[in-house]
């Protein structure tokens, strides 16, 4: 009986907040631990959970933690509405309901032996961080790792210390740019697509994984194609209003797909035409 309840994808499991870290003025990273000892956490990079804030509601959040750590689930949340505001204001020990993980993640296993090009914009770095951890922990299984990250301003950048740490790994290039640089900023200023000219990609051996606002992803996909990377080797993470997270309710329908079940990560070839349709 207990097993059946645990496997019910509609039933939130009890978790509690173990840590809250401020990333930017409006973005926080929450680390949750399972209250039920049998709930060892396991997920694929790129998957998401449904987080239930008691008395407020449920919302889909990408997992941003290390997939090798099975005693916690980590989420990076930007406070933009009532539910996310309540989530980031939780304190250590507060309870949260967790459903999932759900959806299709980044093709980390299929990309073994290839160069990995990570392109992230804003909070889009969060769903890509588990992939970066996995590549760095299994460095010899992958070729070059190139991380291109664009943010609004220096104070809006996520994981700044980690970005610097990642850049020190062998065969790893990390380039960061902001749309609006302040006086103290000595890095790049400009949109994320302007960073491609500082990389020397080998298109035939590269797999690109992209996450950020849809407009940004559309331009990045165009730039990746210009660089010679085929649509089969480009993956994007899509976002829509998800409710059930298991393909029942249809809230997250995206053309012929349900983002929650068929995505959120899609091979670009499958959604390239949809990216250009403003009605969807």
């Amino acid at each position: 009986m207990a097993t059946a309840i645990t496997n019910d994808p509609m039933l939130p499991q009890p978790y509690s907040v173990r840590e809250v870290a401020k990333e930017t003025p409006d973005t926080f990273t929450l680390s949750l631990k399972p209250e039920n000892a049998v709930n060892k956490t396991s997920f694929q990079p790129g998957q998401f959970s449904m987080l239930w804030v008691f008395g407020i509601g449920e919302l889909p959040i990408s997992i941003s933690g290390d997939p090798a750590l099975h005693d916690r689930l980590v989420y990076t949340v930007r406070s933009v509405g009532q539910a996310t505001h309540s989530l980031v204001n939780l304190r250590v020990g507060d309870g949260v309901g967790v459903r999932g993980p759900f959806g299709a993640g980044w093709p980390a296993e299929a990309a073994r032996g290839r160069d990995i090009i990570v392109v992230a914009g804003g909070i889009g770095l969060a769903p890509l961080r588990p992939l970066i951890y996995q590549v760095l922990q299994n460095r010899k299984n992958y070729g070059r790792l190139v991380i291109l990250y664009g943010g609004r301003s220096p104070r809006d950048l996520l994981y700044r210390k980690e970005l610097a740490t990642w850049a020190r790994n062998r065969e790893t290039q990390v380039l960061v740019t902001v749309d609006y640089g302040g006086l103290g900023w000595r890095g790049h200023v400009g949109v994320v697509t302007t960073l491609f000219k500082y990389t020397r990609l080998q298109p035939a051996r590269s797999v690109a994984m992209v996450c950020g606002p849809e407009i940004m992803m559309r331009f990045v996909v165009g730039e990746l194609e210009t660089q010679g990377i085929s649509q089969d080797d480009i993956y994007v993470s899509m976002e829509r209003n998800m409710k059930c997270a298991v393909g029942f309710c249809g809230h997250c329908q995206y053309g012929p797909y349900f983002i929650c079940k068929d995505g959120p990560v899609f091979q670009c070839e499958r959604v390239r035409k949809l990216l250009e349709k403003y009605e969807i």
């Binding site: 609006y180 302040g182 940004m216």
Partner: protein, 153 residues
């Protein structure tokens, strides 16, 4: 030993440039360096040069009254700085300062303008290359203006 012609033709901006055009470019070119923090060009000054950046990063800035300088973009290795030398009134529209120590090739705009008037094939080649850069930067600026990372309400 690196020759000026070799440096120019290996710079991405002049990739595939016809050899005879490269010779014409060399006659207008010189090696330059700028220390980090110094201004390479200033808004309103005469624009008679452009630069092929070989090392370091340049910040393109605009001043607004009672504000600190606003960096609108940065340019790095393999990029070019400056196109106001191409069009009247030949004045810089922005400031540009060296974020790092800069090594660059300076191309004399007056010299090039004269050569382009004399040799329209060269002029067309130069304009095509600058038009491509302008198109890329216009597209990037439009995307930047969208403020895609801002909160939609």
């Amino acid at each position: 030993m690196e020759t000026l012609k070799g440096i120019i033709t290996e710079h991405p901006f002049f990739a595939g440039l016809d050899d005879s055009f490269a010779d014409l470019m060399v006659s207008c070119a010189s090696n330059v360096r700028f220390k980090a923090g110094t201004y390479i060009l200033k808004e309103g000054d005469a624009a008679n040069t452009f630069y092929l950046i070989r090392e370091g990063k340049v910040a393109v800035e605009v001043f607004a009254p009672q504000h600190k300088p606003i960096i609108v973009s940065t340019l790095g290795v393999g990029e070019i700085l400056g196109w106001s030398w191409l069009m009247p009134p030949f004045q810089w529209k922005f400031h540009a300062h060296a974020v790092d120590d800069i090594r660059a090739i300076a191309l004399d705009g007056k010299c090039l303008r004269t050569k382009c008037e004399e040799n329209h094939d060269l002029g067309y080649e130069i304009l095509k290359r600058f038009a491509r850069i302008m198109e890329q930067r216009l597209e990037a600026t439009r995307l930047q203006l969208l403020d895609v990372y801002g909160v939609r309400r």
